[in-house]
Symmetry: C2
Subunit: 336 residues, 2 copies
DNA sequence: TTGTAAGCGTTATCAT
DNA sequence: ATGATAACGCTTACAA
């Protein structure tokens, strides 16, 4: 690929490169007339400013990096779309990287983006481990940073989260109201705040209704995880009356296994999902699920990042907690 | 952010910057001893090579850009994962951009990536329009380029596609075998080869069985599209006996509307989806769908790109056609 | 208003 | 085996 440069234009027009540069950056003095002449010639020659060169000299990129753990569920793509909408409006380009639920790959991704001088980073953790010290380092170096959904506990940074406590509480209470007692709790890795909050919600709902809590399992957020848990439960012949699943994918995986093994849902086992996917309303039985405002989450994260980008230096970390909704459907309601 | 540079190390160690550079690029002569010394110091100082500077001088980035039309369906994320797997092995970083089904945004994305000196591009079209001349230009400039899934018709470039003709044919024939006559055909925009091929398959299956073809509709690939089409059909009181939908999302959207309006599936209307999603087996009724090898598609695209990257200059465009499978489920089979 | 020139962090070509 | 130095394409003082 041959690129047309600022020099080519300068030569062609017998002006200095700095003049050409000025033509493209209105902040400098330049005679409107020459400016027009340059812009015209430039577009004739098919010139495009080289962002690489600009990054090098300006030490910034107008790029924002977004790192997500997985692509399997529609959750993260939706968040990305929300963030993109805001960032595009402010002339930032968005670079997306996915960590495949690996902490190591996540660090690699983050470093790649930092090396490429992104102006800021929006991150959802693949897990908690030796990635955190690196993020500490970034915040110390004043790299604008926003975590969302799967956020770290002890890092002073802006965060956008869902009110997991509240909705795990409500979802659990809903199951209790339906008369279910032995409720299995499933969530992601135990070191994610998200999991801790849900667990508290689950516990507190039991406490409120003076019911002993059921079994608790930590797993991933994929359908595979749901399948495996259900298979284990069946092979151990240890079937709970209801399940609060880590997310819809997990719930759907479980439903399939249970149905295949002849269990009736919700009669034999009731199931509630989390982070509602579009499929919740379409599977059989339709799935009760906690709906999260994914798009809004992306927008909020982008907003928080923009704030940091604007007031360089002074920045008070904020945490935005988003609200949700419990969509009650067939999988958790026994008609009597 | 303050970055440690090669200069800092050079100063610290009283060597030339070129020596430090050499230490990081084994291809040059350097005494193993000094090399060790430099590497050690560098890691102590937390040095990381600046890829921006390297891009500028080498005019390449070791980055590959992937552009996809949408994030809503799991199809593209899966393709990306396949491509990433291959590209990571060859030390390429993958930059993902999504065009939100907009041709303009797609061009913008492509230009951004080109400006950032990606070494190659993997693209699925959001549509056919004034993006094509730009891609022509890129191929003329020898930019390594691979199209997949939604590919342009008249551009000399490597492509990875699904055998849409064959599987649309089989899917249609399957419906015919089940005794359905009035089969509605739905696919994406008519200028996509993909749509043309499916349409030919659909037509030829009818021809083979000497049955007149049904109505044909072009739309998008989202659930919304399915919903709208179904609503239109109902309001026009023009209900086909069977549907070959654009994809699973579309099919699922239709199913919901039809079910809500009291139609029985497949008794009143049979439905077949395309590009199977994980949900096909979980919705009610379970959805018959043409399964495409998404992951393989990503891998194949990455392979084709790597070939171009390796034999710079000479490059014969290839088209890889991938095979699929028809997963027959409840939505298209009337038990008699 | 415009030109000159230094510099961003590398690599790569010359010397030495 | 190492050092000096000119690029890469741009921005931005500073000078004119």
């Amino acid at each position: 690929m041959k690129y047309v440069t600022i020099k080519d234009i300068a030569k062609e027009l017998n002006v200095a490169v700095s003049t050409v540069s000025r033509a493209f950056n209105d902040k400098y003095d330049i005679k409107p007339e020459t400016r027009e002449r340059i812009l015209k010639k430039a577009s004739e020659m098919g010139y495009r400013p080289n962002p690489i060169a600009r990054k090098l000299v300006q030490q910034r990129s107008y790029n924002i990096g977004i790192i997500i753990p997985e692509f399997e569920n529609s959750f993260f793509p939706q968040v990305i779309m929300g963030a993109q909408e805001i960032l595009y409006q402010h002339n930032y380009q968005v670079l997306i990287m996915q960590s495949n639920e690996s902490i190591d790959l996540e660090i690699r991704n983050a470093k790649t983006l930092v090396d490429n001088m992104v102006d800021g980073l929006i991150i959802s953790l693949s897990g908690v481990g030796n990635n955190l010290p690196y993020y500490e380092e970034l915040t110390e170096k004043k790299m604008p940073l926003v975590f969302f959904n799967r956020v770290p506990e002890n890092i002073e940074a802006s965060k956008v989260v869902f009110d997991d406590y509240k909705w795990a509480f409500f979802a659990t209470e809903h199951l209790i109201h339906q008369g279910f007692k032995d409720i299995l709790f499933i969530s992601g890795a135990d070191d994610l705040i998200l999991s801790k909050n849900r667990r508290r919600g689950y516990d507190d709902a039991h406490k409120k209704h003076r019911i002993p809590t059921g079994k608790k399992i930590n797993c991933g957020f994929s359908m595979k995880d749901g399948v495996q848990i259900a298979e284990n439960l069946i092979s151990q012949n240890n079937i709970p009356k209801a399940v609060l699943a880590a997310n819809d994918a997990c719930a759907i995986g479980m439903i399939r296994v249970f149905k295949d093994s002849g269990f009736k849902i919700p009669e034999d086992i009731a199931i509630v999902g989390f982070s509602e996917t579009k499929m919740a309303a379409h599977i059989s039985p339709t799935l009760t699920s906690v709906e999260q405002p994914t798009y809004e989450m992306g927008k909020a994260a982008a907003q928080l990042l923009l704030e940091q980008l604007q007031n360089k230096g002074i920045h008070i970390p904020q945490t935005i907690v988003l609200n949700g909704r419990l969509n009650v459907r067939e999988s958790s309601v026994v008609l009597s």
